[in-house]
């Protein structure tokens, strides 16, 4: 696998001005994406994972937002380039698919034409040639009878097929990066498996970098190589999938892992995270997770922990020393296994 840096987000902040106050939707996010890599971004609702990616392509409503930081895509800062340059990037080099395939296709145009439109947006091409390419793509993403399906309207497609159509639309120009924002949340689990399979296959076939945003740790564990966990607009840890799942470093990640009921094993009592996610208008001072954290100590409510590698093998944002973390996590693991057995 070639190590080609495709995307680098540096200290991205997105603050929305609302009548109720400033919403710190994204508050200092940095990550990198290489070609052929799948980065999974996990977090609960309101953790800022979607806004991070939408803002990268300037797709959020930025009228009333303060955005700072950099989004370097193949050497250019997407937040600084002109609208026309940005348009050239969108859908050609960097494509996006969204959560709700029911709402993401225009209800009044044919599915095929909407995909063809993505072709015409970036190259001159005869109608017939475009149509042929669309039909081929629809076939490639697994839509049966693609030539007659070309003329269907979105409401004639099932949820899974619409998401396939969206993926086909994202792939017309062989992009370098595919951002998938909760692509399977609205779908049933058997259809989800189909779509995840498809994304996986496309990643290898087209050698793209994929960012997969989800709230489902299982989905991330399934397809990602790198995992970034977000909480209250900030990343709390970034690492390879194996490290984050086997040696998680942040108490929030621990809480998440312990909250999920397992398909594979029965009977353990769940350990929920106490409390609820904070309002992004009034993020707690210090570490935003400290009010819910069972391991909080002196500096937590004052100093914001920076995200860096404290020796655990991957960066995290927590004041605990690496020894304490290992000890605490192992204790929690032991307790959990004891209850289980």
């Amino acid at each position: 696998m070639t190590q080609e840096r495709l995307l680098e987000v540096k200290d991205l902040k997105v603050h929305f001005n609302t009548p109720d106050g400033i919403v710190r939707a994204v508050d200092g996010v940095s990550f990198k994406l290489d070609r052929g890599e799948t980065l999974g971004i996990v977090g609960e609702s309101g953790s800022g994972k979607s806004v991070t990616c939408l803002t990268s392509l300037r797709l959020t409503n930025l009228e009333s937002a303060d955005v700072s930081g950099e989004v370097i895509f193949k050497g250019r800062d997407l937040l600084k380039i002109t609208k026309e340059e940005l348009r050239q990037v969108r859908g050609k080099e960097l494509s996006m698919i969204f959560q709700d395939p029911f709402a993401c296709l225009h209800p009044l145009y044919k599915v095929g034409d909407q995909i063809a439109e993505a072709i015409f947006a970036h190259e001159d091409c005869s109608k017939q040639a475009a149509k042929k390419r669309v039909v081929d793509l629809l076939g490639a993403v697994g839509i049966p009878r693609p030539d007659s399906r070309y003329n269907d309207y979105p409401h004639q497609f099932s949820g899974g097929m619409r998401q396939r159509a969206m993926i086909a639309m994202a792939l017309v120009h062989n992009p370098d990066v595919l951002i998938a924002d909760e692509p399977t949340t609205a779908l049933d689990v058997t259809v989800q498996a189909q779509i995840l399979d498809l994304i996986e296959r496309l990643k290898t076939d087209f050698n793209v970098g994929v960012i997969l945003i989800t709230h489902d740790l299982g989905v991330v564990a399934d397809v990602a190589q790198t995992v970034m966990v977000m909480y209250a607009g900030r990343p709390v840890e970034i690492g390879t999938k194996d490290r984050v799942f086997s040696q998680p470093l942040h108490p929030y990640t621990w809480g998440l892992l312990e909250s999920i009921p397992h398909v594979d094993q029965k009977g353990t009592r769940l350990v929920p995270i106490q409390g609820m996610p904070p309002s992004l208008i009034r993020v707690p001072p210090g570490c935003p997770f400290h009010p819910r954290c069972p391991h909080r100590f002196e500096p937590c409510d004052k100093d914001v922990p920076e995200l860096y590698d404290r020796g655990g093998g991957h960066p995290d944002a927590c004041h605990l020393s690496i020894e304490d973390k290992k000890r605490l996590w192992n204790e929690r693991e032991r307790r959990r296994r004891k209850v289980a057995s």
């Binding site: 929305f16 609302t18 109720d20 919403v23 939707a25 609702s45 309101g46 800022g48 979607s50 806004v51 939408l54 959020t60 409503n61 009333s64 106490q274 409390g275 609820m276 996610p277 904070p278 309002s279 992004l280 208008i281 009034r282 707690p284 009010p291 819910r292």
Partner: protein, 328 residues
């Protein structure tokens, strides 16, 4: 604000603490409404104008008697206010709005006109709200054949050329003193109110039906049903409170329509009786003397537009405050 912001769970406000069970700082719906409405200065102006007009209308006799020293049909000073050709004179210090062609004080008549306009519009709106809410709620809640019948009735009435029908009814019922339908509907204010109410309830009914349909699908209705609540309880305790906001908004918004409706009928000579001062009729009188007595047109027109504008401003403001997702 765009979709993105809603995803942050904004409704959850307040300092967080260790427990999900801790309180969230919050305000009652009424407080929220007031908070938003207070910031809407334009709507406030509308409200102020309406209050002023209402007071003027209520105290019209007092103002006419004590301030202007004249009644609405008082022609004793006719000679003073008509010239040698019998044409009315324009505004002066005593007669601030001038006089009409019979030499009556236009200011006093305009004030009394506010009375007629507001009375007819508010009573007619009240009746149409009662009918509209009842039928709309029944149609939306019970559904089935009853819904089909009521909905079709609404469709048909809304697709009638209603001014023509109104003219027809007004004409049919005004041919003689005994009214129509065997004397049940007498010409006069009552007839005008009846006609307006008959044609404006479908607007309310349609809105109420639509809202009821969407409320009916909510799980709290099922919850109530699964507890064994009867339909009457569900309608009055669960559905109706959720209809209050749309009813207030749309009632406010059809009042100006009804004011215009009354004025239109009177303008065509089919509205309120001759003697009753009405802006519509004043405009009709003015149209024949536009060249010589423009004030006869300007003042009633001004009051008419001001009134409807004020109600529309208020209605828009209420909609923004009660239902921030709609519009804007």
């Amino acid at each position: 604000m765009s979709q993105a912001i809603e995803d942050f769970g904004l409704p959850v406000q307040g300092p967080i603490s260790g427990q999900d069970t801790e309180q969230v700082e919050g305000r009652t719906p009424r407080q929220l409404f007031w908070l938003r409405f207070r910031q809407d200065k334009v709507a406030f102006v509308g409200l102020a104008v309406i209050l002023l007009l209402t007071l003027t209308a209520i105290f019209a006799p007092v103002i006419a008697d004590k301030v202007a020293h004249r009644g609405p049909n008082d022609q004793t000073l006719a000679r003073e206010m008509t010239d040698e050709f019998g044409l009315p004179k324009g505004p002066n210090e005593t007669y601030i709005f001038g006089a009409d062609k019979a030499g009556r004080d236009l200011f006093v008549r305009v004030i009394y006109g506010a009375r007629t306009s507001l009375l007819v519009a508010i009573v007619a709106t009240g009746i149409s709200v009662v009918i509209g809410v009842t039928l709309g709620m029944i149609a939306g809640f019970i559904g089935g054949k009853i819904d089909t019948i009521i909905s079709r009735l609404i469709d048909v009435i809304l697709s009638l050329p209603l001014l023509l029908f109104a003219i027809g009814i007004a004409a049919a019922c005004s041919t003689s003193k005994e009214g129509c339908l065997g004397g049940r509907i007498k010409p006069g204010l009552g007839l005008v109110v009846f006609i307006i109410a008959a044609f404006s309830w479908p607007y309310i009914a349609r809105i109420v039906r639509g809202n009821t349909l969407s409320i009916r699908e909510k799980e709290f209705i099922e919850a109530s049903r699964s507890l064994g609540a009867r339909n009457s309880r569900i309608m009055f305790r669960e559905v109706l409170p959720n209809l209050v906001a749309p009813i207030i908004i749309y009632a406010t918004l059809i009042i100006p329509n009804n004011i215009i409706f009354e004025a239109a009928l009177s303008f065509l000579g089919l509205g309120v009786p001759q003697k009753t001062p009405s802006w519509g009729r004043m405009l009709s009188d003015a149209s024949r003397l536009l060249e010589v007595a423009p004030w006869m047109m300007i003042f009633p027109a001004l009051f008419l537009v001001l009134t409807t504008l004020a109600f529309n401003l208020l209605g828009d403001g209420l909609r923004d405050a009660l239902d921030p997702r709609a519009g804007r």
